[in-house]
Symmetry: C2
Subunit: 542 residues, 2 copies
C-alpha cells in the first residue's frame, strides 16, 4: 500500500474497501456475494434489519458502558450468549421464527443416541411393558438429585412384582417395571411429573451444571457422558429403535433438514430385542434404519413433500477407549456392513472425549491396516474423524488433526483447534475437507464461553468449508438446526442470511451422498431456498 499523505477521503475509502475484500477473498461466500439477485439482496436486508433491531430490543446490546451501574444486577445478556440460559428468549425472537423456516440442507454431525427430545423418548419407553428402571437406593428428597436412573428391558421371566422406587419396601437396585415406577412415584417427590423430571435431569444438561458446578470441559463431559449411559438401554432396545429413528427423521424434516448422516455407536455388539434378550446384531439395526428411512420417504412422497427429505446414511462409530486390537473387530464389522448395505454406510469414526481418551495415533496400525483391507476389498468406506475437539494447543486431541488429515479424513468432526494450524487449514481448503462445526455443543461443553468467542469466523475467513451441526441436541436442547444457525447469525456482523445459505448448500455438497443423490438434493434445496427468500422478502418474516 502506498503512502497516505495527501490522499483524499474518497481514495481512502476505496483503498479500505479493497483491503476488506482482499481479506475476505477466501470466504466460501465471497463469490456468491459478488453477484446477487434482487430477492437475495432484499431478504438479506430484511434479516439484517431484524437482527440489528433485536440486538437492542431483545439483548440490550449497544448500551453504552456508562449506562451500567457498577453494582448492576441486570442479567448478563447479549446476542450469542450462553445457550442454556438464552434458549427461552431465543425462541421468542422474530429472527428465530424466520430461521425455523429456512431449508437447512444436510445434518452431518449428529450422534443418533441424542437426537430425540427426551420427553418423546420417555413416552416411547413408558409404552414398553418389558422396560424396567432401578435406582441404587430408595428415592427420597435427599438423594433424588444425586442418584441416576438405570433402565433395562428384561425378559418376561425376570419381571419383578415391585411397583415403586419411592416406597419404603424398595431396598435399592431391584428392577421395577417403568410404567409402574412412574405411576407410583411418591407424591412428595412430585408424582409422575416428579419421575419425569428425575429422568429428564439425568438425560440433559442444566445451566447450573454447564455454567456452575461443571464449568470446565472435563467436568461437563462427565455429566454429558452420564446422559448416554442412562439413555443407552432406552434407545438400543429393538421395539424403541425404529420409532426413535422415525422421530429423529420427522423432527429433522420439520426443522428444514432434508438429509441426515448420523453417527451410530456400534460399541455393543447386540441390542436388546423385543423379548428382553440382548441378541439383536448390527445388521438388524441397519435393516430397521433402512426400513424407517424408506417409510418416511414414502409417506412424504404421498403428501407431495418429496423435496423435503432425500435420505439418510450412517457413519459407523465406536469409542476411543477400545484397545487397538479390539478396533480390528470393528473395522471388519464396518466393512462387512458396508458390503451388505452399500447405500447406508457413509464412513467410519472413533468418538468420545478426546481430551481423556486415546488419540488416533494409538490406533495407527489397525487404521492403516483397515485402509489396506478396504483397498483389497474395493470398498469405499472413508474416515470421517472427530479431531481437535479441545482447547488444547499441541495436546493429544489437537494433534489428532494431523493424523485425521494424514489418514485422509473426508471431513473433520468439530475441529475446534484447527484454527491454530495454518498448513492444515490450507490442506482443508485445497482438498475440500469440510469441518462439522457444532456451535451450541462447543459452548455447553465449555470450549467457548459464548458464540462471539467461538473460532468459527476464523475458519470461515480462512476459506475452510463449514457445515453447522447440532451434535447431541437431546442433551443440549438445541433440537433441529435452527438454534445453531441462530447463534451463528447473531454473533457476527459479517455473516448474514446468505452466508447461512452457503453453509446449508455446503452441507449437501460435503455429505457422503453420491453425485446423483447430491444433484437431486441440491436441486430440491435450491428451489426451497428461493421460496424461502421470497417469503422473507414478501412478509418480513411476520
Amino acid at each position: 500500500m502506498a503512502s497516505l499523505e495527501g490522499i483524499d477521503m474518497d481514495e481512502y475509502a476505496r483503498r479500505r474497501e479493497q483491503l476488506i475484500q482482499e481479506d475476505r477473498t477466501l470466504r466460501i461466500d465471497s463469490a456468491k456475494l459478488r453477484s446477487l439477485t434482487d430477492i437475495e439482496i432484499n431478504a438479506e436486508a430484511v434479516v439484517r434489519a431484524i437482527r440489528t433491531e433485536e440486538a437492542v430490543s431483545v439483548w440490550g446490546a449497544g448500551k453504552s458502558i456508562v449506562e451500567y451501574d457498577p453494582v448492576d444486577n441486570a442479567p448478563n445478556v447479549f446476542p450469542g450468549m450462553a445457550f442454556l440460559t438464552a434458549r427461552e428468549t431465543v425462541t421468542k425472537t422474530r429472527l428465530f421464527r424466520i430461521l425455523s423456516k429456512m431449508p437447512k440442507g444436510a445434518l452431518l454431525h449428529a450422534h443418533l443416541d441424542a437426537m430425540v427430545n427426551v420427553n418423546v423418548l420417555l413416552r416411547l419407553a413408558i409404552a414398553q411393558p418389558f422396560m424396567h428402571v432401578r435406582a441404587p437406593a430408595r428415592l427420597t428428597a435427599n438423594n433424588i438429585k444425586a442418584v441416576l436412573p438405570e433402565f433395562k428391558a428384561l425378559p418376561q421371566a425376570a419381571f419383578s412384582d415391585l411397583s415403586s422406587l419411592t416406597d419404603e419396601t424398595y431396598r435399592g437396585s431391584e428392577w421395577v417395571p417403568l410404567h409402574r415406577a412412574r405411576d407410583t412415584f411418591s407424591e412428595s417427590l412430585g408424582g409422575p411429573n416428579g419421575f419425569d423430571e428425575w429422568v429428564t435431569r439425568a438425560l440433559t444438561i442444566d445451566p447450573s451444571e454447564a455454567y456452575g458446578t461443571h464449568d470446565t470441559p472435563t467436568k461437563i463431559w462427565a455429566k454429558f457422558t452420564s446422559t448416554f449411559l442412562v439413555s443407552h438401554s432406552l434407545v438400543y432396545f429393538a421395539p424403541i429403535w425404529g420409532q426413535y429413528i422415525r422421530q429423529f427423521l420427522l423432527s429433522s424434516i420439520e426443522d428444514g433438514i432434508s438429509y441426515v448422516e448420523p453417527r451410530i455407536n456400534f460399541l455393543f455388539k447386540y441390542m436388546t430385542g423385543a423379548d428382553g434378550i440382548e441378541n439383536v446384531p448390527h445388521r438388524e439395526w441397519l435393516v430397521t434404519f433402512d426400513r424407517v428411512v424408506n417409510e418416511v420417504k414414502a409417506e412424504l412422497e404421498k403428501q407431495g413433500r418429496q423435496e423435503e427429505f432425500v435420505g439418510a446414511k450412517i457413519i459407523y462409530s465406536t469409542i476411543r477407549f477400545i484397545t487397538p486390537e479390539e478396533l480390528e473387530w470393528y473395522t471388519e464389522d464396518a466393512l462387512a456392513l458396508k458390503q451388505e448395505f452399500p447405500h447406508l454406510i457413509a464412513g467410519f469414526d472413533l468418538v468420545g472425549h478426546e481430551d481423556s481418551l486415546k488419540p488416533l495415533i494409538d490406533y495407527i496400525e489397525p487404521l492403516t491396516r483397515f485402509m489396506r483391507r478396504r483397498e483389497e476389498l474395493g470398498v469405499d468406506l472413508p474416515f470421517i474423524f472427530h479431531a481437535g475437539e479441545t482447547l488444547g494447543d499441541g495436546n493429544a486431541p489437537d494433534m489428532n488433526l494431523y493424523d485425521a488429515i494424514l489418514l485422509g479424513t473426508k471431513r473433520i468432526g468439530h475441529g475446534s483447534s484447527l484454527v491454530k494450524h495454518p498448513k492444515l487449514m490450507e490442506i482443508c481448503r485445497e482438498r475440500g475437507i469440510a469441518v462439522e462445526v457444532c456451535p451450541i455443543s462447543n459452548e455447553i461443553l465449555r470450549l467457548t464461553s459464548s458464540m462471539p468467542a467461538h473460532p468459527l469466523p476464523v475458519l470461515v475467513n480462512h476459506g475452510v468449508h463449514v457445515s453447522l451441526c447440532s451434535d447431541d441436541p437431546a442433551v443440549f436442547g438445541n433440537m433441529g438446526l435452527t438454534f445453531d444457525f441462530f447463534q451463528v447469525l447473531v454473533a457476527s456482523e459479517v455473516t448474514g442470511l446468505l452466508t447461512l445459505g452457503e453453509f446449508a448448500r455446503d452441507s449437501i455438497k460435503h455429505s457422503m451422498m453420491d453425485d446423483e443423490e447430491k444433484a437431486r438434493a441440491l436441486g430440491f434445496w435450491e428451489k426451497r431456498w428461493l421460496d424461502f427468500l421470497q417469503w422473507v422478502e414478501r412478509t418480513g418474516g411476520e
Copy 2:
C-alpha cells in the same frame, strides 16, 4: 501427500513429523528451535517437566472424566483458568517462581494510570496533606459496597475541618482530608483497614464481578472504567506523579522488565500541582517522567545493575470519546511535545472501550491531516493503535484493524480479533507489525473465558510477532509480567520456556527504541537470559 496404503510405521512417523514442522514454519520460534544449545535444551526440559508435574499436582489436570462425580462439588480448576480465582494458587507454584526470575524484555502495552499496586498508591496518597476524599453520602454498612470514593487535592484555602465520612455529622459530598478520613473510619466498618478495603474495592476488579455480576465485556468495562475515574486524581497530582512513576519503574525492574513504553493519558490538559491547583501542563508531566527515569538509571548504575534497566518512552494517548475536531488539539500537542522531548515520545494512540466508543474511521480526517503535519515538520511520531479489542466479527472495533493498518500503525494494541483476518495477519507478518497481547487483561475483561480459549496460539502459529503485556495490572492484580507469562506457558504444550524467550526478545525488537538503544538492550538481555537458563538448568528452579 502420497497414499498411505502399504507404508510402514516409521514412514508414517516421518510424514507426520514433516507435516507438523510445515504447519509450524511461520512461528517466530521455528528458526530458534531448529538449532539449540545444550543449555537451552536442558532448561526447556526442566520447565516442561515441572509444568507436566504441576498440571496434575496443582491443577488436577489429566483426571479421567469418570473420576468426576456428576454432582461433584470440587472447584473447577485447570491450568490457565480464570486468573482472579487462580492467582493465589499460581504464586505458590515452582513454575511461577522460575518465571519471576526470567528477564522479560520490554513492556510495550501498559496504561500508566494502572501500573502501581493500589496499596502503594494509597500509601503515597495518605502522606499528602492536600489530598481529600468524599462520598456522596455518609458511609454505612448498607451503602459502602455501592458507593465509590472520590479524591481531590484541594488548595489550602479550601481545606475543610470535617474529619470523618462515617460520622453522623457527615451530610455527603463534603471533602474530608484523606488521612483524617482514614484515621476516623468507623470501627463498625473496620476502622482504617475498612477504609483501605473500601478504596481497594473501588480500584480493583473482584472475581465476583468479572465472573458473576459483570460477566460480559460491556459490563466489566463499566466497572473497569470506574476504577480509572477513582484513581485519576491520585495519580495525576504532581507530588504523587513522580513517586508513582518511580514505583512503576522499580517494580517492573524487580520483575525482570528492562524497558517500558507506557501509554499516558493526556486527555486532561493539566494535572493538579502541589498547591492543590490544577495548573501543571503536559510538558511538566514529561519533565518529571524524564527526571525519574534518569534517577532510577543512575541509582542502578551506582549499584552495578545498569543491565537491568535501559529506559522508558511514552505513547501519547487520548480517549476515543473526543470529537474529531478536538483530536486536532491533541495531535498538535503530541507533535509539540515530541519536538521538545524527542527521546521520550514514542508514538500516538487513541484508547478506551472500543465496543462502545468511536471507531478510528470517525477520526480519519484529523488522523490523515496529522500524517501530513508530521511529514511537514519532519517529526517521527508513529501511530501505535489499539485495535480489535473485541469479540465482534465485522463490528466497528473489529474494523478498526483495517484502519490501524492502513494508517501505518507500528504495532497493534490487543488485536484480539486479528485472527479472523488472513490478509491482515499476512500484512503484520510482512511488515513486522507486532501485536501487544494482554492475556490476563483479555480474560478479566471477558474476551476469553480462560487462557486455553485465548486466540494467542492462532496468532503465533500464523507467524505474527507477539509481545506479552500486562495492560492495567493495578486493576487486575497481574503486577509485572510474570503472571501473564505464566498463564501463556501453562495453557499450551507447544509453547515452552524458549518460546517465552522469543516473545521477550521480540518485545525489545518491536519497541520504539532507536537502533543503538535496541542493540544495547538486546545485548544486556541476551546476557541475562543466558544466566537465567544456566540457573534453571543448574538448580531446577529450586
